[in-house]
Amino acid sequence: MRKEFLAAGRGGQGILLLGHVLGHAVAKYTKFYVTVTESYDAETRGGDSKIDFIIADKPEELDYFKVRNSDVALFMYPEQLVKYERLVKDNAIVFIDNYFIKEVRANRKWLIKEAPYTQIAEEKIGTHVVANMIALGHIIKVTKLVPVEAIIKSIKEVVRKKWIYIDIKAFQKGLTL
């Protein structure tokens, strides 16, 4: 088994943290092996931000570091959707933040799951910065990639203290979408 997951958005949307929380959960609390590489621009806000996430049940299946035919993808911003859609295969499950991405023009057969993650974060949790955790909740609910408990433990271990409670709340909100 070898599955690829790509998440991309703008710097500041929490893409890298999402990858880190998910990777930590997979590595520590499942039997699966994982490779995560990050790419980001020099700006802390507004630049390109992407994670290449590969999960497998045998370490030798984690050959190449980068995603080429993603099974699952998350796009949080239109520019990155245009830039990276070629890395997502047909029939992939694609999560879209439709607060920013109004229209998916990619001419591909994707199973699209969309929700206004950023808007939900702002309205239900009180800050847009936890949109990433809402998206993560949605992804876990649909794909069942990792047990919910593992993600919650991972958030507690990875995220800075003052954000733990609010991130878990956002993640749980995502599970209800």
């Binding site: 590489t37 050959d63 570091f65």
Partner: protein, 373 residues
């Protein structure tokens, strides 16, 4: 044993601590800085010391000093910093100082591209210091191997009284992976041999004629650390007899142990008509390429050394015995190709120098190989 989700840089740091490292000296440089930053916090918790010096020259010399004071020591850097360490490394070689240098390759020459990876330093780490010597170089392909090879690097350094290089690169350095952090019951840790005190002024009580016991400072030995050509006592004697004896020993103590240092892995080679030779981060897309080509019923396998130097010609010859062609895939202009060709005389060896700041993707490797099938 515990499981962590860490980068290769952090895995190397954890492996070094597990091997008993007590001193780290360094100067920040991308992509090695975060290894340093991690150890600044972590090493004191493990009873050691991390110090930032004014530059890489001071760092390697501090590491040499600490090793002579009895502490297992390490530094990490990248190409430009390694260039500055070369003089100190030569000093460590002739004074037979056990230490580990982690070189995390970035694109060069000079400052090149700090954040991007190539494999352009595979000769620099082996041949940069002047003089006659040999030096072991280990090359991981994953975070797990970063951990495992760090322990091995310290063991080789201690057993053979030599500097050992761990050669990583910018892509591996910052790839996050699942790593099994083994505990002390699962690993073997080797410590340097020291002379017995009753013979404290003599080097002659050594078991092996290749690796003399180390007269660590402050233990009552009459230690003399000499970078000029010296005899067993550490006295400068500039004649052929002493010179030949010393430099042959520096070479032989590594090369005679080569079969213990060699550590190569093969994949899908049992029935191969073709063999891909690749190392470090590039071996991963090379392995993906091999699997792609296998889907088209092309019988191809992968040979991957985890010890780059001394060069493992023995297992390579064995693996390539029945193949028609050997492809050497590397992220440089074709450096190790020459070494492979030199050892596989009469065999068709094809260089595939795929220079790529990100690590060449499997498609590029498949396409390049296909041109030669």
């Amino acid at each position: 044993m515990r499981t962590e989700f860490i980068t290769t840089n952090i895995a190397i740091a954890e492996g070094a601590i597990m091997a008993g490292m007590k001193f780290y000296a360094g100067y920040p440089i991308t992509p090695a800085s975060d290894l340093f930053e991690y150890l600044a916090e972590r090493l004191p918790q493990a009873g050691g010391l991390t110090v930032q010096f004014e530059d890489e020259i001071a760092s390697i010399n501090a590491v040499i000093g600490a090793s002579w004071a009895g502490a297992k020591s390490m530094t990490a850097t990248s190409g430009p910093g390694f260039s500055l360490m070369v003089e100190g490394l030569g000093f460590a070689i002739i004074t037979e100082t056990p230490l580990v240098v982690v070189d995390i390759m970035r694109a060069g020459p000079s400052t090149g591209v700090p954040t991007k990876a190539t494999q352009s330093d595979v000769y620099q780490v082996r041949f940069a210091p002047h003089g006659i010597y040999s030096i072991p170089v280990l090359i991981p392909w994953s975070a797990q191997e970063g951990f495992d090879l760090a322990i091995r690097a310290f063991n080789i350094a201690e057993a053979l009284r030599t500097p050992v290089i761990i050669l990583s690169d910018a892509v591996l350095a910052h790839a996050w992976e699942k790593v099994r952090i083994k505990d002390l019951t699962e690993i073997k840790v080797i410590d340097r041999e020291m002379p017995q005190l009753k013979n404290k002024n003599s080097w002659l009580n050594q078991k092996s004629d290749l690796v003399p016991p180390m007269k660590v400072f402050g233990r009552g030995y009459g230690a003399k650390v000499e970078s000029l050509i010296h005899d067993e006592r550490g006295w400068y004697i500039p004649n052929n007899e002493t010179y030949r004896k010393l430099v042959w020993r520096l070479v032989r103590k590594i090369e005679d142990k080569a079969r213990f240092l060699w550590d190569s892995v093969t994949y899908l080679t049992e029935d191969s008509d073709y063999l891909v030779y690749a190392y470090g981060s590039v071996a991963r897309p090379a392995y993906a390429a091999v699997k792609e080509l296998r889907k088209e019923s092309i019988r191809i396998g992968l040979f991957r050394p985890r010890t780059l130097w001394p060069f493992d010609y023995f297992n390579l010859k064995k693996a390539s015995m029945k193949v028609k062609k050997v492809f050497v895939v590397e992220n440089n202009e074709g450096k190790i190709f020459r070494e492979v060709q030199r050892h596989l005389r009469g065999k068709e060896v094809i260089p595939l120098p795929l220079i790529d700041l990100e690590v060449p993707p499997p498609e590029d490797i498949v396409d390049s190989i296909r041109e030669w099938l």
